[in-house]
Subunit: 161 residues, 2 copies
């Protein structure tokens, strides 16, 4: 596994995401890494993240998949260009679509392992397939289509004029 | 719009969901209602729920759609049987799959309106299509396949023996 998380390369203005921003004190602060050709993130749910007692709510699973996959999209695009993630021009990706299949109840007490693999990479689009595992069992599978954010939209989204 | 939310009919053991449980003090406490043939829920994001400053993170959108739709599935199943949602036998639904298309950045400062409509209803499965709107504009569309929880699984999920 790489030492530094994808999210640790992001400039401050892209580090506020509730799911994976290192500067969001109330957020989940998910961190994603390369592990060979796969990306991986570990997450320990809290008691409040339940659907029913003992099981994780579906929106958390969707959030973990979404944040792992948009981070993976950016990391894969930089890797394709042979550049480190903190070099210019910045490559940022947003989710065009997210699909999650919930296969089994996800236990609340266990550390979750979220893994992604890039299945398509073009100049403006990255497709990532993901799975969420607990106690060695796949509880959910997901697919994210991430698209590169044009610079004009970057400025709008960060509030710059 | 109906006066009482779907979630206000749930027994206590099904009222802990982070997204929509009335007993989850740290959760979002989404409440869903019938408005004619559509279900509707309103939600005001907090500052922490950002993706980048000014826009809602994708996992929140997924959560709102998921919780509106599983509630709608239960409400639709009771309505089909001509029963109130607090009558026995209980009908509980879980998400088999969730799909979200993100159409535009969702503003963080605005109240979000999430609407669902049942497109398929069988004895064990309900399909719901949803949309998330802000400032009169559709920002995301979603589709949830919800399946009825067998009683044996109910007991496992609530920790009863």
């Amino acid at each position: 596994m790489t030492d530094k998380a994808f999210q640790d390369y992001y400039p401050d203005e892209f580090s506020h995401c509730y799911g994976c921003g290192r500067l969001n004190d109330r957020g989940l602060q998910l961190k994603s890494y390369w592990d060979g050709d796969e990306s991986v993130a570990l997450f320990q749910p809290e008691e409040t993240h339940m659907a029913v007692p003992g099981s994780v709510y579906g929106g958390l699973i969707a959030t973990l998949i979404d944040c792992l996959c948009t981070g993976t999209a950016a990391a894969a695009a930089y890797r394709e260009q042979g550049r480190a993630m903190d070099t210019d021009p910045g490559l940022r990706f947003v989710t065009a679509s997210l699909h999650v299949d919930y296969l089994a109840p996800t236990p609340l007490a266990s550390q979750l392992e979220v893994r992604g693999i890039v299945t398509e990479l073009t100049k403006k689009k990255v497709v990532i397939e993901a799975r969420v595992m607990a106690e060695g069992k796949v509880c959910a599978k997901g697919k994210v289509v991430a698209v590169q954010l044009p610079e004009s939209m970057l400025n709008t989204m960060t509030g710059e004029k």
